[in-house]
Subunit: 432 residues, 4 copies
Amino acid sequence: MDSSIKLSEEKVFKDPVHGYIHVRDKLIWDLIGTREFQRLRRIKQLGTTYLTFHGAEHSRFSHSLGVYEIVRKIIDEVFEGRPEWNADERLLSLCAALLHDLGHGPFSHSFEKVFRLDHENFTKQIILGDTEVNEVLTFISDDFPQKVAEVIQKTYHDKLVISLISSQIDADRMDYLQRDAYFTGVSYGHFDMQRIMRVMRPREDHVVFKWSGMHAVEDYIMSRYQMYWQVYFHPVTRSAEVILTKILQRVKALYKLGYSFKKEPLHFQSLFEEKVTLADYLKLDEPVILYYFHMWEEEDDPILCDLCHRFMNRNLFKYVEFDPAQQYKVLRELEDLFRDAGIDPEYYLAIDSSSDLPYDFYRPGEEEERLPIHLLMPNGELSELSRESAIVQAISGKRRTDHKLYYPKDLLQRMSGENKIAERILSILHRF
Amino acid sequence: MDSSIKLSEEKVFKDPVHGYIHVRDKLIWDLIGTREFQRLRRIKQLGTTYLTFHGAEHSRFSHSLGVYEIVRKIIDEVFEGRPEWNADERLLSLCAALLHDLGHGPFSHSFEKVFRLDHENFTKQIILGDTEVNEVLTFISDDFPQKVAEVIQKTYHDKLVISLISSQIDADRMDYLQRDAYFTGVSYGHFDMQRIMRVMRPREDHVVFKWSGMHAVEDYIMSRYQMYWQVYFHPVTRSAEVILTKILQRVKALYKLGYSFKKEPLHFQSLFEEKVTLADYLKLDEPVILYYFHMWEEEDDPILCDLCHRFMNRNLFKYVEFDPAQQYKVLRELEDLFRDAGIDPEYYLAIDSSSDLPYDFYRPGEEEERLPIHLLMPNGELSELSRESAIVQAISGKRRTDHKLYYPKDLLQRMSGENKIAERILSILHRF
Amino acid sequence: MDSSIKLSEEKVFKDPVHGYIHVRDKLIWDLIGTREFQRLRRIKQLGTTYLTFHGAEHSRFSHSLGVYEIVRKIIDEVFEGRPEWNADERLLSLCAALLHDLGHGPFSHSFEKVFRLDHENFTKQIILGDTEVNEVLTFISDDFPQKVAEVIQKTYHDKLVISLISSQIDADRMDYLQRDAYFTGVSYGHFDMQRIMRVMRPREDHVVFKWSGMHAVEDYIMSRYQMYWQVYFHPVTRSAEVILTKILQRVKALYKLGYSFKKEPLHFQSLFEEKVTLADYLKLDEPVILYYFHMWEEEDDPILCDLCHRFMNRNLFKYVEFDPAQQYKVLRELEDLFRDAGIDPEYYLAIDSSSDLPYDFYRPGEEEERLPIHLLMPNGELSELSRESAIVQAISGKRRTDHKLYYPKDLLQRMSGENKIAERILSILHRF
Amino acid sequence: MDSSIKLSEEKVFKDPVHGYIHVRDKLIWDLIGTREFQRLRRIKQLGTTYLTFHGAEHSRFSHSLGVYEIVRKIIDEVFEGRPEWNADERLLSLCAALLHDLGHGPFSHSFEKVFRLDHENFTKQIILGDTEVNEVLTFISDDFPQKVAEVIQKTYHDKLVISLISSQIDADRMDYLQRDAYFTGVSYGHFDMQRIMRVMRPREDHVVFKWSGMHAVEDYIMSRYQMYWQVYFHPVTRSAEVILTKILQRVKALYKLGYSFKKEPLHFQSLFEEKVTLADYLKLDEPVILYYFHMWEEEDDPILCDLCHRFMNRNLFKYVEFDPAQQYKVLRELEDLFRDAGIDPEYYLAIDSSSDLPYDFYRPGEEEERLPIHLLMPNGELSELSRESAIVQAISGKRRTDHKLYYPKDLLQRMSGENKIAERILSILHRF
């Protein structure tokens, strides 16, 4: 297919964040219509966050369209015509933007942890495998799917293209901060994206930002910081995540033990065996998972049944602050007491740690080499953001970590009165 | 329980439409925590609309909280202290507002049509039956559940309370217009609710509106009109609705014919038999339905399989305008041609009609007696809205109906070339 | 000057309504810098409306930039490349958009009435006369100022260009509805301009609108209707307007009578004589007028002094509804009573009539031939809006007029008690 | 007057920032109607900022209403009924909030500098002097005006009342950040005021904030930081401020020299003499000042004439970054060169320094003892904000200062070519 084929009439999607999503390229239109892309409608953008912020029911489908739209605007309205920008990379960039989250499964975080999956690997498989997406991409050229996969995997030769969707300030983050703020309704997450886009300039291996837009970039960094701690790491969301993880651990353990399920967990078989094919994976989405949780509310295993009931009806665990260094011994004591009280600590006592590095300058050789944000100074030179911005410098490279200990307060309270151990547990937790 | 029990600390939910939802009454807090209310998280407010407006993924859970919040504000900030308002009705009004949609099932419209269900009846059953909601309500008094049900059914003796949630301008509509506008992202649906609330005045049997707020009320009527035609009756949404209905009709027909399903449709059994108990009903939600649609994509029956595939992957029917009076004969002809082409018109040719009456004055004796909106004039008298507002008068009582004929254009196009009948069908439809 | 001269770097103005105003053409940048254009900063967009809606303190400067920006977007983002659009008219259209209100003076409405001025005539004079604006425009070509003036006067040969800024749905109206809504804070005035712009299509002699955008156009018509009655014709604003007009009438009358002003009204001399030169006119702005009102608060003439005091300190007249047909005789009676009470009815009793035609189809031969809005139907034909839209049809061609009688209630109340006539007046007005 | 007198009907002002301003107390209504309060309509909230951000044309009138509304909401919706809050202070707090800026004059910053005025002193004089405001306040009690003045001057005995309008997070700042963001249109200035208000708790000598709202407070601090550097200290605004100051200096110098003005600057006489009475001061507002600037554009003194022309037509000075420590000698050199070129450096070369301390903890004994923000921790103790918030800690106590050197680039460029000194000056400035 000639990559320049345009639709006879531009199509638009009404979008609450960007106003409209504009599609002129037939290729993009066809990709949106594939079953693998439509599947993203059935996967929430923010996993369990809707149990904390009831508005956060939006899907990865709308986020993916948003990332595409931002990249389209940057290319068509800012980069076009600049000598540093290679116009041939336009369609590749748009496809990578649209498809970057394609391999996400339901409640990715917990599933990846328990079943050792990797959504990035599935993204690659969907793009390169026997799928409608692959079929559409191949119309452009035989090696086009490979190129799209490389951009998403950050191995593509043109680092400028990669930096549009994977850097400390990219289309992915700019969309999700604004979108998640919009749907949760929080007042964080606002920054002047229009200004940031206007000061973006293509350079050989990454996007840089004109110095005159520094404050808009600062504001973006601050928005990101607030969204992480106010929304993404919200302790109630993490409680739901803990319960979800425990459900998956429990059902996997039961399976390994040869437990006889009333309702055969067909969709989970290959997960349990850790032999998930692409076809298996594509059948998973959140309605399927929720269907099973419904079913398991009626299983005989009391732990599975209780945990599913908790998740479905938002009867979550409570939490206390936890200091792993100081309180390790108390944790051991609590585990023993839980066992004494007849509550399995494996499933009912959990530490969850969240950690964020709001912005980082370049540290060669470290595990995750984060590319810093560069400002294009009036004299034409580049300067790393934290050298120019006092406020970014103040938080730069400072990792903040938060540990919480989750437990079923309602259960312990119901037990106490007749059960001294439960009372003891509560009094220990009360001192945290 | 003493109805005045307050939470030790006010609880809030962040809400994108109202800022915050405030809960001080323990009763309300407990109702929100019931499994029947949490179930509303798994039922979309706008059914299939998300296939047209991708942002419309919000649930009936958030709408129900919104209606509650509006009624709470009207009572606590406007009615409180006024002699016409009976403060004893406060908690009853709040409960009715919160629970008014409790009986909604997944994709209500299609399900109710095919399986002859009535969500209002289920709302009543949930409130009066053996449920967590009933248990919480009964704490207030033995007859409290009955009262709540009566308000929702519009049979309660105090018509003022009813009019708060069921009239041509009520908390239900004010929430959904704004909420649906917010999540779809359309620019309709905005009106000055704060002003409307400020001019509401309690009268013996309904809420009236001070004349000084007439323009805000007009604006609400216009918003409502636009939302109906731009969002609720959007032809693409209706196409998805048509396919959904056809899936249900097909699966029911197969069941009646004794078709052997690969995957037994357990959750549908009582629906097919039209003997749905409350327990059966409460197990239904959208994830469950989508799970079956997934399964049925792999059934042998080609119609069921195709329709489910269409719904899941948004491969919808196209439409033409249809005039039932003029084009009835052509429809018959098309049905015959469909049969000749080997396409079952029962499932692949459908008329959908939408009809709206934006505002109506009072017409005694008509099927649905709509209470008109009354303005409280400066001289203390009441005057019906359309008598004061030229713009409302212009559209008052004027029903607008729209008929569309839906058909699988993609299928016919694929067939044509080798199939003259398909070509013929397309050329007929092209003339509509 | 080559009309295509671009700035080395695009300039932007932050604008609350449009996000940013973008300027790439040196000509536009230079026009904005002229003293005649900067003068618009000192003339409020909504005259006396800030005395009703305190946020409405915005100037004609920001509105003019907004109209420019809308026309720029229509041309650069929608019309560009379409065969029906003549790209050579781009800069002319932008200049006409930017300069269309250039001749407005302070509180135009009252000044024009009392001193028989015509702001459109001054716009023409500024564009063609010895001004910085003329100098800048002449750089393009000697006849360019003339062309700009013709577009604004609607006499230019290319009617399509005219319709961009002067029709029933043009850039001027689209900006002011949104801008005035933003600054007053009212919830009317919103419509989906992005959609309207997207469906605009150039035709030989006017802009038409694709049928698919009809509802956005309807919404615009309704916004316009609401803004007229809620904001522009607000009775309190009109009260301030009445007082302003009376001040000007009084000062003119005093001048004609040879009254000796403590502070010589130099700026008004040529106004009184009705021989206003362009140089005189350009010296007038709202600060100058307010300076005189300040001064006149200290004049000996009690009427002038009182009226200025009322205007400066927002001590306005009250009003009653007035029916000219029915209440003409009572008005005569009131005038006599005012005289008997020692209050000059010439200055203290005033009828103000506001009248609006929300939308009109074409009526050949009528005084003001309003070009109707045409929809471009799917079949390629044009259809007049009110034939397609039930709601527009309902209000089309229906003029609504409102008359109010203004009077100094505070003065009459202070007088009554000892003055039977004042009491009589109040009791008559009370019956209106 | 009984302080509890309520209006028969609540009055509202439509406000773009707060939705509505609600007034129930007759006292507040009467204060708003006084001529001293109405005068605030004629003084811009942000002085010369409208020359940078054209939307910033809003007045101190609307800001004052906004501060009142915030304090009203805090008291009526959060503090009411709490034992730590003394309900008798309600009306006093509302009056102080409404009147806190009453003494501001036109372009306060420059006027205070050149004529050694102090707006706080005038606020006090207006409240205690022979004014309509004083008359209204005295209705409550003879010592009520004194109390209001004390709250505004921060000498009142109840420090809690003072902290509502004067602290590092008070109603004054919360209104202006949001209002200035709204009118300029920038995307900074947003924070969750609703949440901040909800977590405010009265304590003996100040307002504290529940720990659960810490992130909203952080966000407010960041908004404040961004607004200072993006809006309040914008270099273009400061350029206009420099010119304004130079105009005042020049006119004062001319007066001292006995210069004969064509148009006698009557309103400035007492300013020049530094003997400004309250009556003189109240006659000053921005229209009056702009009237004189208009006049002075026609004075013979070339400096005054040129500076006024620059201000009225926004022909501002350009700037370079300036380092006082390093570049002091170059500045001396420049001054000499200016003199050699025939340009008076006194009026055409100016350093402007802006400096901000975004947040400060308590430092006893320092010049301005800023009360820190205290969080109310879950254990009931207070903790200073920067001890709990990493991000606030990072910027706490860190003053940021910015120096710029302003000069008339246009003039120098016009001169260069024939004038070697002008060229020399430009080449030196180019190296800054």
